[in-house]
Each structure stands twice: as C-alpha cells, then as structure tokens.
C-alpha cells in the first residue's frame, strides 16, 4: 500500500477584498496525493489553483488568510503550524516552481548560488554535493554547457532555460513534493513542449510527487496521473486523467475537454475574386532593426486569413503596417485595388473607416472614462455624421448584433466582464462598417468558453456582413477553427501560405511541422507519441527543426 504524501481536507482561504472585507477564494477544496504521483490542478483565471498549490507549502500570499481545513504532509498538520516548522518544510520537503522564472530568480546572484541555496541552508547537502547534484540535473533537463551554466546571472539566460533552471532548483534538495505553478505558460509553444518533456522526464526518473498547476487541460494530461478541476475556488471534479478526458461527468469539465466547438466549414477559394486587401512586397523596420521582409498576402471578401507565428515573428507589426501606424520601408498596401498611402496621416477618413482593428486586451482598448454609447457611437458620428437620436438607435442595434442588451449603452467599461468588453470592441469596429477587421489575438486574454463564444460571434457577423478578417494569433486551435487561409510567419518572413487544407495537410514546411506538432492535443500519451515520432524521423535522417534552430 502506498502511503499518503499530502492530504488537504476542506480547505477554506479568504482574501481581503477591495472593500476591505474578506472574500473566500478557496472554498472547501480537498485533495490527496500519493508518493511518486502527479496531480494536475486545472482551472481558469481566478479558480484559486495557485492559492491551493501554495497552501501545500503552508504559505498564503500577502492579504490572504487560511480560514479552516487541514493540510497534512506525511501525516503532519501544516495548518496553524508555527512559522519555524513551516520554514523547515519549505524548500526542503516541498519545493515550488514559479510561473515566471525571469521574475522569481534574484537578479543579484549567480544562478547556481540560488539553485543550491535551499539544499545547503536546510543542511540537506554540503555545498559541493549540491553543486554536483545541480550539474547532474542540468544535464538531465538538457541545459547547455552544464559545467558553466550555473555561473551565469538570470538575465543572461533565455526564458525556456530559466524555467528549466528553476525546476533544477526545486529538485536539488530532493523534496517529497514539487509544486509546478504554470511553468510553461510564459513560453512559446515550440519551447513549451521541450520544457514540458524535460520536466516530465525529470519527475519520472527522480520518482517525484508533484502538483502541476495549469489552465491547459491538454498540457496537464501529458504529465498528470490524476486531475482536479477547480472553478471559482470550488472543486468541480476529480479523477484519473484518462477518465476526466474521456468520461467527464460535469458540464464544466466537458466544456474544457471539447476545447473549440466553433468550426467554419471550408469554403472553396473563389476563382477570380478581386482581393479587398493586398500586401505587396512589404519590408518594415523599427529604426535599424528589420522586422518584416518581403511580405505578400491577399484577403478576399467574406474570408478569414489567419497569420500565425510565435512571439517576435512580426505578425503584430504586419497589422501596424496595414493600418498605417508604421509606414513600410518598401512595398505597398492596396485596398480595393487602390494603393493606400503608407502613413496614417495621409489616409482619408474613408480609407481609415474601411480597415478596423480589434485588440488583444479589451481592458486597455476601451477608454475607462467613456460610456459604451460614446465608445460605439463615436465612429457613427465621426464617419457618418449621425445625430444624437439616430446614433443611439444604431448603438442599440450594434449592441444587439454582438449579443448584448441595449442597456449596456449606459455603462462604463469598468462594469463589464472581459468577454463583454471584447464584444463592445467588436461593435465599435462594426460601427464603422469596415471591409476588413484586423483581429490581433482577440481571444488570448479570454477564458476558453468566453473565447469560444466570441469566435462564434465573429463567424456569425462575417456571414451576415461579408466582412473579411485578418486574424493574428499564436493559437493553432483557433486557426483550425475559423481560418480560410493561413499565413505562417517566422522571424519577419512568410514561411508558408495557402488555404487551410493546404497548410494543415502534410507535407509541411519544417517550421509549420514543428509548430503544428508542438500544440498539445487532448489525448493521454500525446507528448510521448510526438517525442517518439520526432526521434524516429531524426533517426531516419529527416530534417527536423527544433525550437533552438529558429
């Protein structure tokens, strides 16, 4: 019989709210963890998953308080334990891997001094032993140049490497339990798979127990034995990974498993349709740094072109060139066959009206001091000269079009939820009756279900108005769901472009291949399968791209 390592029972944690009262952010959560097993803790923002993860170290953030419940580690109660006892457990028997390694490493010390610190301070290893152990683990986590890696300072190392270094830091003291708090969320998708594979191998080989916190169910399915689903501080469902994925019992879990329920049926490329928008041979640069090189693309009425790439690929810069915020060095942008003036200021109102932009962060895209009526109404009076009454009527119409009640016209953005704000942004774009809407990562700041609803709305509006979308995103699931055409970008260049079927069906360009195969799939064993496939193809001498080659 395996002994119970951690058991949390009926945990309640409260945070001081803005009004000064206490608000429960963890409400009756219980979990059990056996030696050598991994528990996935999953939920959306505000689900309380980090708070529960930190409670395993007997720790609460500033402004939070443990109300009631029990946290037993190897049978020892941590709830209400004296500080000194908790201190001896933290960093020794339970360790923690933070979401942003770049911020969680102290900039003033060398990596290795920080990595061995807890093992040495707790008297688990001598400094020499700890350094040896760290070097062994660098190798295990495939960090470059293990003998010298630790001599560097945090800012001298890339994000993916820092995240692995933090994993080493958590493992050097040989803890019973490691809490991973979204360790790959800040990373690009192609880096994420490598870090995930390294963490998985380390957990397996060192026979560690772990709590793995994330918002990405597909990701945690690769690493966890059991999964606990949280929502708004409450437990939704707990079960073996296989069961959660295949036989979810709760509607919320089912929604998480289904990821994207939106799907745009593929439409055939219209034979000789005049493109609405054309980008012809554009080069662009910020100062002396070139960001875009030789970009060509065309966008037709009623269609969606997805521009896909990782951070730094230049996809958002492309949007800035098209809107005129950044005049290109070379090449031109054409609208309805006419060349557009390169800079914003030289464009006339009609040209500006025809291209609208919807942003990633609805929070900062709406002026917090303007009512929704003013926000949606301004383009109406600005472009079409509508009077007060006609404007109000049209604002209500637009609100209905984005599935919001007309009463929203009198609210301020601060009173709306994230999804509602994004709908207001869409309504504002529609108010200008544009030909093209550029959607810059419009769903990535939203929770999965809200994002789904926004995507469906965008598709409905396209069917009704024939507007064309230029959809900028790093999320391939979204691309699969709604794109007609796909443009893959890497380092400011287009790697590959074509219809959705062309791009998503093999054979792929090596980078597209890397990108596509790095997206976690909702399937147990996906990671092992992909890694095995990559290894096999490499063994056959095929050219395989790795994140480091980019």
């Amino acid at each position: 019989m395996t002994e119970l390592l951690l058991s949390i029972t009926d945990l309640h944690i409260a945070a001081r709210s803005e009004q000064g009262g206490l608000q429960e952010i963890v409400n009756g959560v219980s979990l059990r963890l056996e030696h050598g097993t991994v528990l996935g803790l999953i939920g959306e923002s505000g689900a309380g998953k980090s708070t529960v993860g930190l409670a395993a170290l007997g720790y609460t953030r500033h402004g939070c308080r443990l109300l009631s419940g029990s946290i037993r580690l190897n049978g020892e109660e941590l709830f209400g334990a004296p500080y000194e006892k908790l201190r001896q457990i933290r960093g020794a028997r339970v360790t923690y891997v933070a979401q942003s390694a770049a911020a969680a490493f102290d900039p003033a010390h060398r990596l290795e001094d920080q990595i061995i610190e807890s093992a040495v301070v707790h008297g688990i290893l001598s400094p020499e032993e700890a350094r040896r152990e760290a070097r062994r683990l660098y190798e295990k986590l495939r960090l470059p140049d293990p003998d010298n890696f630790g001599r560097r300072y945090p800012h001298q190392v890339s994000g993916g490497q820092l995240q692995r270094a933090m994993t080493v830091m958590a493992m050097v003291p040989k803890p019973d339990l490691v809490v991973f708090d979204e360790p790959t969320t800040a990373l690009d998708v192609t880096t994420q798979i490598e870090v995930l594979a390294a963490i998985k191998a380390a957990i397996r080989d060192e026979r560690l127990a772990a709590i793995y916190i994330t918002h990405d169910l597909a990701l945690v399915a690769q690493i966890a034995d059991r999964i606990l689903v949280l929502k708004d501080g409450r437990m939704v469902e707990e079960g073996a990974t296989e069961d959660i994925l295949k036989r979810p019992t709760q509607p919320y879990t089912r929604a998480l498993v289904q990821v994207r329920r939106v799907h745009k049926p593929s439409a055939p490329q219209p034979a000789a349709q005049e493109p609405l928008l054309e980008v012809r041979g554009v080069d662009a640069a910020y100062g002396a740094v070139p960001v875009l090189e030789d970009i060509w693309l065309r966008l037709c009425r009623g269609r969606t072109t997805a521009v896909v790439g990782e951070s730094g690929s230049g996809k958002s810069t492309l949007a800035r060139v098209i809107t005129g915020l950044l005049p290109p060095r070379r090449g031109e942008v054409r609208l309805l066959g006419e060349p557009l003036p390169p800079g914003l200021r030289q464009r006339n109102r009609d040209q500006l009206r025809r291209i609208q932009l919807v942003y990633q962060m609805p929070d900062v895209a709406l002026n917090p001091r303007h009512k929704v009526e003013e926000i949606i109404g301004r383009p109406l009076s600005f472009y079409f000269g509508l009077g007060a009454e006609a404007r109000r009527r049209r604002v209500e119409e637009l609100l209905r079009a984005v599935e919001l009640a007309p009463e929203f016209a009198d609210r301020y953005p601060g009173e709306l939820s994230g999804g509602q704000k994004q709908r207001v942004c869409i309504a504002r774009a529609l108010a200008a009756e544009p030909d093209v809407i550029i959607c810059d990562e419009v769903t990535s700041a939203l929770d999965v279900q809200v994002a789904d609803a926004v995507l469906r709305l965008l598709l409905d509006l396209q069917a009704a108005t024939g507007v064309a979308y230029l959809f900028i995103t790093h999320d391939l699931a979204t691309v699969r769901a709604i794109a007609d055409d796909i443009v893959v970008m890497l380092d400011g260049r287009i790697v590959e472009q074509g219809t959705r079927e062309d791009i998503l069906t093999p054979p792929h360009h090596p980078y597209t291949d890397l990108l596509l195969s790095s997206v976690p799939e909702m399937e147990v064993g996906w990671l092992d399968r992909i890694l095995a496939e990559r290894a096999a193809r490499k063994a056959r001498g095929e050219r395989i791209m790795e994140a480091a080659d980019r």
Binding site: L344, R349, L352, Y383
Partner: protein
C-alpha cells in the same frame, strides 16, 4: 474618509476662509501701528503686536490673502504651462518631445532656490515677477509628471483606436488622455501648491519675496526674528501658520492619492 483626511479638510477650509475674507475680518489695517512693540497677548490684540507695534492677528489675516493668493496664482500658472507642454510632448512625441524634455532637464539641473536667487538679483521685487519666477521654475516638475502620466495613457490601445479613426490632436488630448490623467494631477496640484507656498515664504523670509510693509507670513517671521532671543513666540506664530496649512494640504493629498490608487469600482 479617514480621520486624518477630515483634519486636513478642516485646516484647508479654515485657511480658505481666512484667505477669502482676511481683509474684512482683520480688526486693524495692514500697516497700521496700533500699540507698542511686541506687546503680549491681550483682549485688544489676541496675538499681540509685532516689531513695529502692528496688530499681529490683523497682519496674519491680511497675510493669508496675500501669501495664499500669490502661491495659488503661481501654482495655477505653473500647471497651465506644465500641463499644456507636457501633454503636447507626450501626444506629439518625436523632436518636440525631445526639445521640451531636454530644456526641462537643463532647468532642473539647477536647484530651484538657487536659480530663483540668481534671477531675483537683477529683477525688480514685484508680486508679478515673483509669481512668474515661481511658476516657470515649478512648471518643470508639472511638465515631467504631466508628460509621464500622459505617456502611460498615450500608449494604451484606446488612444491608438482614436488615432486610427482619424481623430484630431484636440480630441485625443481632451477626450481620451485628459480624463484619464486627472486624479494624479489633482494630487500633484496640492503638492505643488505646498511647494510654491513654502518657496514663496522662504523667499520672503530671506527678504527677497514680497516686500514690506505688505503683510506676508514669511516676511513676518523675518521682521520678528529678533524677538525669539527675548523668549517671545512672535516669529513662531506666522511660521506655524505656514506649517499648519502645508500639513493640512498634505493630509488631503495623501488621502486622495490612496483613494485613487485603489482599483475603481462603480
């Protein structure tokens, strides 16, 4: 409202009344000699008399109007200059921003008091000149803050939306940027007022500010400084009046800053 903020508001309120009604409330004229030198507190002269035998209370009240009025005028002027240039630099950007920012850097490289002393060595000592000197020197601080907060707002997407819509500079400054930058600037107004007020008082104390026989709190400290060696509190009265008002304004500003730092809920 916190108790300390309430105290602050009461102090500011009393001073505002004194500044508005001072000359009418004052029992005697501003430069009227009514008794002996440095008479103690009495029914006729609740705060005694000064170095020339003028009624201390009357001079304090006359001084309230003048000292607070001049400091307020200087603060308003410095905000007018600093805010318009600061917003302009933030919204227009480019070479204009560079030019204005470098000019302000240069002015701020010299301590305000020292530069004011240099300039006052050749300028005639008049109220207009004082207001202008204080306002111009202080507007550099306002410029920095206005530019910084406007910069924070200018990079926000909703301002980009307005630019992309084709809105003019006026709309962007007054409708998009201004409403979102007011809270920190209101608090700054309080702090700048304190600064202008203390600065004016210091200049007057040094004999380089408002000139006698006009009543001014800093000058009154200077006039009566010698009384201290006879164990009289006379010079401490106008000095305390200065300190109390700055404390009051600071209490209100602290409260306002804390309030606007909290996330807004409607």
């Amino acid at each position: 409202m916190t108790p300390s903020a309430a105290i602050g508001f009461v102090i500011v309120g009393v001073y505002a009344l004194a500044a508005l009604l001072g000359p009418w409330l004052a029992p005697y004229g501003e430069a009227e000699i009514v008794a002996d030198v440095w008479e103690p507190f009495s029914a006729a002269h609740p705060l005694g008399t000064d170095n020339l035998g003028r009624d201390m209370l009357s001079r304090l009240l006359w001084g309230a109007t003048r000292t607070i009025g001049v400091a307020l005028a200087a603060t308003m002027l410095s905000f007018l200059i600093g805010m318009s240039l600061g917003y302009l630099a933030a919204v227009v950007g480019g070479w204009l921003d560079q030019l204005l920012s470098r000019a302000v850097d240069a002015l701020m490289a010299i301590p305000t008091l020292i530069f004011a002393l240099v300039v006052l060595a050749v300028l005639p000592p008049s109220v207009t000149i004082l207001v202008l000197v204080i306002a111009v020197l202080d507007s550099t601080r306002v410029f920095r803050l206005a530019r910084a907060v406007a910069m924070d707002v200018v990079v926000m997407d909703f301002v980009e939306v307005a630019r992309l819509r084709g809105e003019r500079l006026g709309w962007i400054v007054f409708r998009e940027v201004l409403p979102n930058t007011l809270p920190p600037l209101i608090a700054e107004f309080g702090l700048r007022f304190c600064f202008a007020f203390l600065f004016l008082s210091s200049l007057s104390f040094l004999g380089l500010g408002i000139q006698p026989p006009a009543a001014d709190w800093g000058g009154m400290v200077r006039d009566n400084a010698n009384a201290i060696s006879f164990g009289l509190v006379v010079p401490l009265i106008p000095a305390a009046a200065i300190a109390l008002l700055t404390i009051g304004v600071n209490l209100v500003v602290d409260w306002q800053l804390e309030r606007s730092a909290r996330p807004r809920r409607t």
